[in-house]
Amino acid sequence: MTISRLVSSALAAALMFGAAATSSAQDVPRMADGKPDFSGIYSPPSTVNATGPRGNLIFNADKMAPVKPGAEGLLYEARNGDPRHDEPRAMCLPAGFPSGMLYILPIQIVQNPKNIVIIPELQRAARIIPTDGRPHREGIEPSYYGDSVGKWEGDTLVIDTVNFKRWILDDYHYTDPTKTRWHSEELRTTERLTRDGDKLRYQITIDDPKIFTRPFSQDFELTLRPDWEPLGLLEYVCEENNRCAGGNCRPSDAQTPR
């Protein structure tokens, strides 16, 4: 085999590989504007390589960045007996983000050229994320879900969220009868969403400089569920059976049959 034949074989192989990679990317359904189409109903996010209790629904502590000296008390707060603090969602208070994305109920994504709307069935708290290049809003109060803007980096949607109220980070409190886990008001999250066949690769980066020494990321994946389309998302009015309205309750009050 001559050198030139070797080179041309290698070139052909490289071209074929390139073509395969390209055709895989082209396989992703696309919107009219050429962006990947994320629309659909997905299974709840599932942690990739989950560890520990309830590993799919909370951040894995062993994958978190180190906590700054003295900041442990900002990350973990002891339960104080007030369910509004200890179990805010059980009180029908907002899940917030990122906690609200990590639950056993499905998530629907609705997309148009100017916005991506992410709707967890949990509390039906739609996150409306502009993708038209606008900056974060100024002069609004910190909030449970923060202020999000999105942009496309190739076929990956990158969502930047700031202006949070201090709130529960995740559902850690369901795994520990003594403590709750929080983020500070300095939280900044970056979500990266990439469609891969019927999967949505979903990475959340937590940057909370008041608590952690550096940002850290955890990987999740969602699975498209066309079989859930006929049912669609259901209503979720937590107040309909809020067993602890107002927060002034003990478990026995909350659970007494009406």
């Binding site: 209790p53 309830r54 799919n56 179990e87 059980a90 056993i104 409190h173 369901y174 478990p251 659970q255």
Partner: protein, 128 residues
Amino acid sequence: MKRNVLAVMALIALATPALGHHSETAEFDQNAPVKVTGTIVKVEWLNPHVWFYVDVPDEKGTITTWGFSAAPPGALMRRGITKDALKIGAVVNVEGSRARDGSNNASGRSVTFPDGRNVFTATQEGAR
């Protein structure tokens, strides 16, 4: 006889200690198992959690009403468990974890029908 099991439906969201969205660890004691057989008398097919109530007679015929919490309606429905599954008047065997306050409430982990009907699949679809 009652141990002659039958079909079990997973009513809670997770097999691990944590379930759903209320304060499982704070309200319910995993070390206080509850296992009762009785008649369904009331069903609240509502968010944030389905609750159902079971009248349980003791040897003397005295009735105690137990309340059981379950997953949200949507999570149950996507597992193929509809409201029709929990019929008023149905006799069921329910297992769960008792409320820490000692009340007759529990988180319902599984429901078994004495006639062996497998109303619910055991898949934990939607649960993570």
